[in-house]
């Protein structure tokens, strides 16, 4: 497993370099120059333009400029955003990244869980009206025009039923007297989610070897302790930020629901296909013959093995989720990296656009690596090869 991880990490670093190279050369291939934007003053003479271009380093050959760009990139200097002048690009990214991460992680988990459960049940009851309805409904949700779907969700849930807010991520009236800023709350929310999932994972591993009755009891004790820990932390150690976190969560529900609904169908259909192939195996027949209840056969024997191709497909689904995130952030005015990228694109703010692309690429690479590790954990053949 360790060798596999090291190999994957090295491959990821190589891919990241390749990605940066491609980004740079595509950016360099644009007709015209960076200088055309800075030097749009018509009163400059030709010699002055030439001198300004030389001082910006644009008259050097392309490989020299590429090396300089890489050097600046690894020192954290991604340029200055034209539309947010004079803020540097990295500053804007650092401000908006936690919001996108929260939206992306939550919606991916919800959509995967929803798709997997729906596909599991669907494959178990083959044929009949349910299959047609689920397939057509799932495919329609998958291919629905996302901006329109987002607007419909806003209209139904936020406008007509008034269950959720109309958009944005904070309620300005509530936050007027807040002692902390939004990123403080976001970072703490993300850390809480990360640490509690790691702890949950360790707890599940540790209680695996017990007998069923003790296992269930011990696990539930663990869940309650974890929940109490989270509530205690937010109530006492975050200087009153709990109510603001709840406000952000309330704004998070509708975008997450929209994103999960449009991406769960892919996972659902793939799980169904994968389960259909798994159900033909001999061990399913054995499990039935042993007299195990239907749910146990379906969940602990068939679904466990059917999960492998679904996790592989997570890589494709991640790209789709990142795309959906950009569109959803626009419709719900959720000020994350997706909305920033789009605004920068509409204002032709090239440093910001490149910064957004690099952020998205890094996120995609990291998620890809995480999916590979998960797959290696689930499939012992890869671990021990």
């Amino acid at each position: 497993m360790r060798n596999y991880l090291i190999k994957r990490l090295a491959q990821n670093v190589l891919t990241f370099f390749l990605f940066l190279t491609i980004v740079y050369f595509v950016m360099d291939a644009q007709p015209g120059d960076f200088a055309d934007i800075y030097l749009s003053n018509p009163r400059l003479t030709a010699e002055q333009r030439q001198a300004l271009r030389a001082s910006m380093g644009l008259d050097q050959p392309v490989y020299v400029r590429y090396v300089l760009w890489l050097r600046d990139f690894f020192q954290g200097d991604l340029g200055i955003s034209f539309s947010n002048y004079p803020r540097p690009v990295l500053d804007v990214i650092a401000e908006r990244a936690p919001r996108t991460l929260t939206l992306f992680l939550t919606s991916t988990l919800v959509s995967f869980y929803l798709g997997f459960s729906a596909g599991k049940v669907l494959a178990w009851r083959r044929g009949g009206l349910l299959e047609y309805v689920a397939t057509v409904g799932g495919v329609t949700l998958y291919t629905v025009f996302t901006p329109w779907f987002g607007l419909m969700m806003i209209w139904i849930f936020a406008y007509s039923l008034r269950l959720f807010p109309l958009g944005k991520f904070v309620d300005p009236v509530l936050w007027q007297s807040a002692p902390v800023d939004a990123n403080y709350v976001f970072v703490r929310m993300l850390l809480t989610a990360l640490i509690s999932s790691v702890l949950l994972f360790i707890w599940l591993l540790a209680t695996q070897k017990l007998d069923p009755i003790t296992k269930r009891r011990t696990r539930w004790i663990g869940y309650i302790v974890l929940l109490a820990g989270i509530v205690g932390y937010w109530a006492f150690f975050t200087s009153g930020a709990a109510i603001y976190a709840l406000d952000i969560l309330r704004h998070l529900i509708l975008p997450v629901m929209t994103l999960a609904l449009i991406s769960f169908a892919g996972t659902m259909l793939l799980t169904r296909n994968s389960m259909l192939e798994t159900l033909r195996e001999d061990y399913i027949l054995t499990a039935h013959a042993k007299g195990l209840p239907e749910k146990v056969v379906r969940d602990r024997h068939a679904a466990r093995n059917a999960m492998l191709p679904v996790v592989t497909s997570l890589v494709f689904a991640l790209a789709f989720a990142l795309d959906g995130g950009v569109i959803t952030e626009t419709i719900f005015s959720w000020p994350g990296m997706g909305l920033t990228l789009l605004n920068a694109a509409q204002l032709e703010d090239i440093p910001m656009v490149i910064g957004g692309l690099v952020f998205t690429g890094t996120l995609a690479l990291t998620a890809h690596l995480a999916a590979d590790i998960l797959y290696a954990y689930l499939d012992p053949r890869i671990r021990y090869s």
Partner: protein
């Protein structure tokens, strides 16, 4: 082929040759091939029709094709071009633009006074063209890349697979947004870009694994022993066996192309004259995006995009059951 079967053709007289040929093959070769193809097509069509969902998708596609075909007829006969032109028409008989649906304008007019139904029908043709061009480019690129990397292996294989890894990893629309800032993108450029990105991406990996299973078959080795060059084996033996699965992925590329174009023109990042996404962009810039009283500005275009994308995806899934026998019900 009939000529090659004669061992010593120079020793026969012309009449003798004709007599020899007629005993080997009664019907001409092209007719035999046509009959075999027709029989194969009929059995595949029967398999396709078993799954009603594929038929629904096909029906929707035919409906949109009819819409696209009906537009030139209507604009030349019944409709007055000054009023009903989808780009420069203007209806001055309506008091307030955008006008609600009426007998003269079945789906109303948009904020600039142009008839919505005529815009819908005009764009259907360009969406089909976009989808077909993107799909064809994808099929050509993906099949070639898959076959070449499976056949040669080694360094070529590694390069193409690394490239495909990077491409699948990147979210499609984000890359297109970035490209639209750096370059000016029109419909044809968009189709080519989508085709190339999809062709070098995930499709290449699937087609390569399929080509690997073809490469180890006996007839490839036989062809090599008979003296076939690399190009001959790839293009005459491997590629024709890859075509069913390529055709399948073509459907998904069309879905992706239509969806990406709609999203990009909704954001206003493309340089095109009229499309469904552009209709919604016009609504958005005029400020009517959240005004659901004027439903005809948003619903027809969005529903058209959704239906056409879903139709191609459903047809693709039904074709999946034809191409991949393990998914069939039996």
């Amino acid at each position: 082929m009939a000529e090659k079967m004669d061992l010593v053709p120079s020793q026969r007289s012309p009449a003798g040759e004709a007599a020899a040929r007629s005993t080997i093959l009664q019907t001409p070769l092209w007719k035999v091939r046509l009959q075999l193809a027709w029989r194969g097509f009929k059995s595949n069509a029967a398999l396709f029709a078993e799954n009603k969902i594929g038929l629904i998708g096909l029906a929707v596609i035919v409906m949109f094709a009819l819409m696209a075909a009906a537009y030139p007829i209507l604009i030349n006969t019944v409709w007055d071009p000054n009023i009903y032109d989808p780009i420069i028409g203007y209806d001055f008989t309506q008091v307030e633009q955008p006008a609600p649906p009426s007998p003269a304008h079945l789906l109303g007019t948009d904020p600039l006074g142009r008839d919505v139904l005529s815009q819908l029908m005009y764009s259907a043709a360009s969406e089909f063209a976009l989808g077909v061009v993107a799909a064809l480019v994808t099929v050509i690129v993906a099949t070639t890349v898959g076959a070449v990397s499976a056949y040669f292996g080694g360094a070529i294989d590694t390069i193409f697979m690394r490239l495909a890894d990077i491409i699948i990893m990147m979210p499609f629309v984000t890359v297109l947004i970035v490209l639209s800032v750096l370059f000016e993108i029109r419909m044809l450029h968009l189709a080519l870009i989508i085709g190339i990105l999809a062709g070098f991406g995930g499709d290449a990996i699937v087609i390569k694994s399929q080509a690997l299973t073809i490469k180890v078959r006996a007839y490839i080795e036989a062809a090599r022993i008979a003296g076939g060059s690399d190009a001959h084996i790839i293009f005459r033996h491997i590629v024709p066996n890859l075509l069913p699965i390529s055709f399948l992925y073509m459907m998904f590329t069309v879905t992706s192309a239509i969806f990406s174009e709609a999203v990009l023109s909704f954001f206003g990042l493309l340089n095109i004259r009229m499309s469904w996404g552009l209709m919604i962009h016009t609504t958005s810039t005029a400020g009517y995006l959240l005004d659901l009283q004027k439903w005809w500005l948003i619903f027809p275009a969005s529903i058209a995009i959704t239906m056409l994308c879903a139709a191609f995806y459903l047809v693709g899934r039904a074709l999946d059951e034809v191409v991949n026998p393990r998914l069939r019900k039996r």
